[in-house]
Structures are given as structure tokens and as C-alpha cells.
């Protein structure tokens, strides 16, 4: 059992090199892959989530922890059926047309993945048509639109118009976020949800698919 604790600790401290070695050792030693994930890697990430919410950990530390967890999961993945990896839901996300910023969006992706969402990240400067295509191809429950600039957030509305025109607007919930975005702006353009930061975004998505 102490092995799992050590693995959890490596995730909590963000020591991804140690997390990788320990995971590999456990696989080589014949430890149950499900246990490696649930009792080692995810157990560690659960502690991280609590500490982050309490303000005891900062984002760069959470990101290193997430990296440690996913390196471990990547090693274990080939050994188990895809259906055994828990998935909360599917989300397509991207920064809207004209905007090249992606830090906030990447943070949201990380938070969503750490609570079990499968995330399709379309990147930056995503044209409205590309969101439409992605909805048709990936059939997500949620689309996330990000913008940093006050000058590009207007393109969120254009994306909603394109989804409407393509007849797929009703198939997805659309959430918006980014520094200049507000709940009022969200309501005004007719989006389904707004979150002021990545932690709230993850709660919002859980609520929307729940």
C-alpha cells in the first residue's frame, strides 16, 4: 500500500519524473492497472484539487501535478480497455476567431481533464465554421469559447450565429469565458453559461452534463 502513497505523493508534489518511474515499476511488478490509476494517480490529484481550492497550492504547482498524473495514465492506458477510463463528458473548446491567446483556455482544459472530461481542443483563432464542423464531427455536450481581448470577444456572438445557421445550436450547451467576458455579456449573446475562472468552469461543466 505504501507504493500507492508514494505515487500519490509524487503527483501532489508535481514530481513527474518520479511519477513516471514509480508507475513503470508498478506495471513491471504486476500491480493492477486500475489500482495504479485510482489509488495512486487520481488519489494524488484529488488531494491537489482540495488544496488548490483552499488556496494552499498555486496554478503552476497544479499544472505540474496534472502533468505527473497524465504521464502515469499514459503508461497505464495501453493495459486497460478504454471503457475502464472514466469519462464525465465531451467538450470542444477553442479561442475564438482573431484571438491568439490560449493560456486561460489551456487552464480550463487542464481542469476539465483532471475531473474526467474528454476535451477536444481546437486551439486559437478558431473560425466559427471550425466550431460548427467540430460539433458535427465530435458530437460534444458542451462547446467552450474563449477570448482575452475586448476586441475579439465580439466573435463569440458570430460563433453562436454560425452554430444557429448550421442547425446545431440546440445540440450543444455553449459556455464562454476570458478576462473581459461577464455574465451579462454571456446573457446578451445568448450563451448557456459563463465562468470567471478555470475552477468554476469545471463545476459549471459538471452541472451542465449532470
Amino acid at each position: 500500500m505504501s507504493d500507492f502513497k508514494e505515487l500519490s505523493e509524487s503527483v501532489i508534489s508535481g514530481n513527474f519524473r518520479v511519477a513516471k518511474d514509480l508507475t513503470q515499476k508498478m506495471i513491471d511488478g504486476g500491480t493492477d492497472p486500475g489500482q495504479i490509476i485510482n489509488e495512486g494517480l487520481i488519489a494524488g490529484m484529488n488531494v491537489v484539487a482540495v488544496r488548490f481550492k483552499a488556496g494552499d497550492m498555486y496554478v503552476p504547482e497544479v499544472m505540474m501535478s496534472a502533468k505527473a498524473m497524465s504521464i502515469g495514465i499514459e503508461l497505464v492506458k495501453p493495459l486497460i480497455a478504454a471503457s475502464d477510463i472514466p469519462s464525465t463528458g465531451k467538450i470542444v473548446i477553442g479561442t475564438v476567431s482573431g484571438d491568439m491567446h490560449d493560456i486561460g483556455k489551456n487552464l480550463v482544459v487542464m481542469m476539465l481533464e483532471s475531473v474526467g472530461f474528454s476535451v477536444v481542443d481546437l486551439g486559437v483563432d478558431v473560425k466559427p465554421e471550425a466550431f460548427v464542423e467540430a460539433v458535427k464531427e465530435h458530437k460534444p455536450q458542451i462547446i467552450g469559447l474563449s477570448a482575452l481581448l475586448t476586441t475579439t470577444m465580439l466573435n463569440m456572438k458570430e460563433t453562436l450565429v454560425a452554430l444557429e445557421a448550421a442547425g446545431v445550436r440546440e445540440k450543444v450547451k455553449v459556455i464562454v469565458g476570458g478576462a473581459p467576458v461577464t455574465q451579462a455579456f454571456c446573457d446578451q449573446i445568448g450563451a448557456d453559461g459563463y465562468a470567471q475562472d478555470a475552477a468554476v468552469a469545471s463545476d459549471l461543466c459538471k452541472k451542465l452534463v449532470g
Binding site: 482573431g98 493560456i103 475586448t150 478576462a179 473581459p180
Partner: protein, 491 residues
Amino acid sequence: MTIQIKESNFTDNKTLQFKVLSVEQIKQILNNTLRILENTGSTVHSEEARTLLKNAGCSVEGTKVKIPSKLIEKALSTAPSKIVLSDRNGNKRLFLEGNNSYFGPGPTCPNFRDPQTGERRETVTQDVANTAIVADALPNIDFVMSLSMISDCTATLADVYEVRAMLENSTKPIVGWTFDVDGLKEIVDMCCAVAGGLEELQKNPFLVIYCEPTSPLTHTKEAIEKLLYLAERKLPVVYPPGMVLGGTGPMTIAGALSQGLAETLVGLLLSQLKNEGAPFIAAIQGGPLDMKTMQHSYGAPELTLLIAASADIFHYLNVPIWSFAGATDSKVVDQQAAIEATLQIFATAASGAHLIHDVGFTDLGLTGSLEQLVMGDEIIGMVRRLIRGIEVDEEHLAYDVINEVGPGGSYLGQEHTFMHFRTEMWKPTLLDRQGYAGWEAEGKKSMYDRISEKVKRILHEHKPEPLSEKVSKELDEIIAAAEQRVRIKNA
């Protein structure tokens, strides 16, 4: 007996200054920048720009451009080392050279603190007009920006409407922002109408356009097109990266300075390749990502330190300098707002940056505030007194009057006091220096009460010089044509 008095430091070197970087450190940062430009490269999303760069000898693969350092050296030698900005009437006002510091508001706030109700609400055209009126009235605000991203007009013409409102409500030089080249053309047309033609505007420019690279090391099509358009017409452009340290820039300040310099220098190179001698204002901006709230902090001391260091770098490179001060992360104009604004204003002025914007920013740059602008004016006045330093010559050493008053006398009734008190002492307009009883008698007002009253008074009383009817009509026509352009585009 005569004492030989040497010429004082005051006449040689009139301003108080401080430096953050040594020349050796500047060279290290510059070398790091050249290494980034040559090895890491930049992404340039403009075909015209890539062609210019390729023809000049850069390696271009897809959108990735790698720039040899000799090109940067050449561009630095052809870019003007000083720029003079005029007022709307063609009088030369701002001399962007040496250690001359000029202050103004910032751009694109989607929210505004209503000066009458005190409520935070969406920004409207009247806010731009009000910002211009207040900036026009304040003695220490030298240029106008809109503090706005207005919501009560055709959305994609906010940039054009804002410049019009600024032209109508102030004669001070304007720094505008734009969405794209279409809007930029209309803005330049409006300024040409005011100046009496492009040639007049070029001779006495009162318009600077703000466009920015996207950190890290990315140059969007829109930003570059605007920059090239202005370079072609020899109109001044500022191209400041807005990094977030730990996000879009390295966490360490020396690293962020290196990357930011690489970003603004790509703009400088492109402006010179398009039109040698085109006026370019350089900048490096970047505050830390607050790792708890994930917000870009304007009030952080690291941003102030970085911006002061950037002034050292551009003084060394001999390029006009864009900078930042007078902003706060606070949601209201309070103690935090005063602390943050004061530190920034002192550091930027003492570092000798030239065009210093963002006075009036609150709420992490998302809410414009006339109160913050008015408080900034007071702080700038105070700081300018510090920067002016101490004059040391026979008259100021005051030997004669000391001799006359002698031990136990008084200086109050002396002519020397009468002659010097107005110039030697800065006089506050908002800071309270009353005795307790006087303060009580005037209604026990707080600093904020006095600021708010001053804002309202300026808005009520200050009448900026109007544009002529003929020019106003020309602006109407340009706006009508812009509306028509948008209608066609949306049809």
C-alpha cells in the same frame, strides 16, 4: 573673497533619474533577444510582411521567420530617435526624446465607472467624450486615449467613433486603437480632415496608433497590416507586447524583457523595411500572472520594475519609448489605487519613458475611471516636482537673503521668498493640507470626495475648443461611409 561656483548638475542634467539596468545587463538582454530572433524565430501571419522579411534576408519557412541580427542593427539605425507630436491645431507639443515624460489614459475598457451615479456599467460614446474633456482640462495629462471600448454604436466601428469623439472634445494629441486596416483608414482620413491633408498630418502628427503583437513571439495579420499601413504613410505607431509573466512570457523579468524586446523589434524592423525612417515607438510591457487568481496584475511591483527596465533598454537603443502608469487592480478608486498608481508614475517618469499611458485604468484594466484619471493628474504633478530636482546656483543657494535675515529672523516677508515660492513649490489641487478646523468646516471631505467633485466640476465647466463646422461635416461623411462599408460587409 569670491568662491568659484561650478555649473550645477541641474543645468547639465535637468531631471532626477533612476536606472534599473546597467549597460552590461542591457547588452546581455539584447544579445538574448537577438538569439531568440535568430534561433527560436517568430510567427508572422502576414504574407506581405513575410515577403518583406524574406527579401531582406530572413529565413522564412511557412509562417515562421528567423531574423539575422544585422537586420535589426540596420533597422535601429534608420528608425528615428525622436518623434514630435503636435496638438490638433498643429502646434508642436510632445517631444519624445531625452527624458521627457508625457502621460495619458489607456485604451479599450469594456466597462466604465459612471461619474454621476458611481455605478460600473458598459462603456458608451459619452464616456469617450468625457475622458477627452477631462484629459483636455487636466494640466498633467498630455495626450488623450479613450479609456473605452464603446458598446452603443455599430460594434465593429467602435474604434472609429471613439477617435471622432476624442477629436471633438480635446486638442491634445490622440493615441487610438483600431480593429483592422479598414477602420484605421477611416481614422487617418478623419485626422487628415482635421489637419488639412495627409501632408499636414505627417508634418505635425497628432495621431499615434496602438497595435500589438501577441506574446509569445506571434504577429497577427491585423496588427501587421495596421503597422505597415502607418509605416507607408510615415505616421507614428506604437507596437507594445502585452506579456503575462508566467503565462505568455517567461516568469523571470530578464527573460520577459528579452522576449518582449524581440516582439517589439520585429515591428520596428517591419516598419523600416516598409518605409525607411518611418516613426516607430517601442515598448515592452508585461505584468505577472497572479498565480492565485489567474489575473494579469497591473499593480504588481514587477510590472513597474519591468517597465522601468524597458526604458533603460530603449534609451540605450535610442528609440522613442512607450510606457505604462497610473493604473490599479482595485475595483474602486481607493487606497490601493493610490498606492499602485503612485509607484508606477514615479518609476516611469524617473526612468525617462516618453509616452506613458493607462492613467485611469481600474479593475485590472477592465473598467475606465475618470476619478482615477483625475487622481493620476495630481500624482503626476507631484512626481514632476520630484523629477525637476533641486536647482543649485547663487540665487538658489540664497546666501544674500540668509545673510540679510541673519540669526533669529524670518523669511516670510522677504522678497526672495516672494520671488521663489511659486516656482520652487508644487501646489496640490486635491491633497488636503488644511488645519483640522478648516477641514471640518469644509465638510470633512475625503480624498475621494474631492476627486469626484473635481470630475463633476470639469465635466460641467470645461468647454474644449470645438472643431469647425466644415471639419465636423467632413467627419460626418467619413462616419457615414464607414457605416456603409459595414452594411455592405454584413449583407
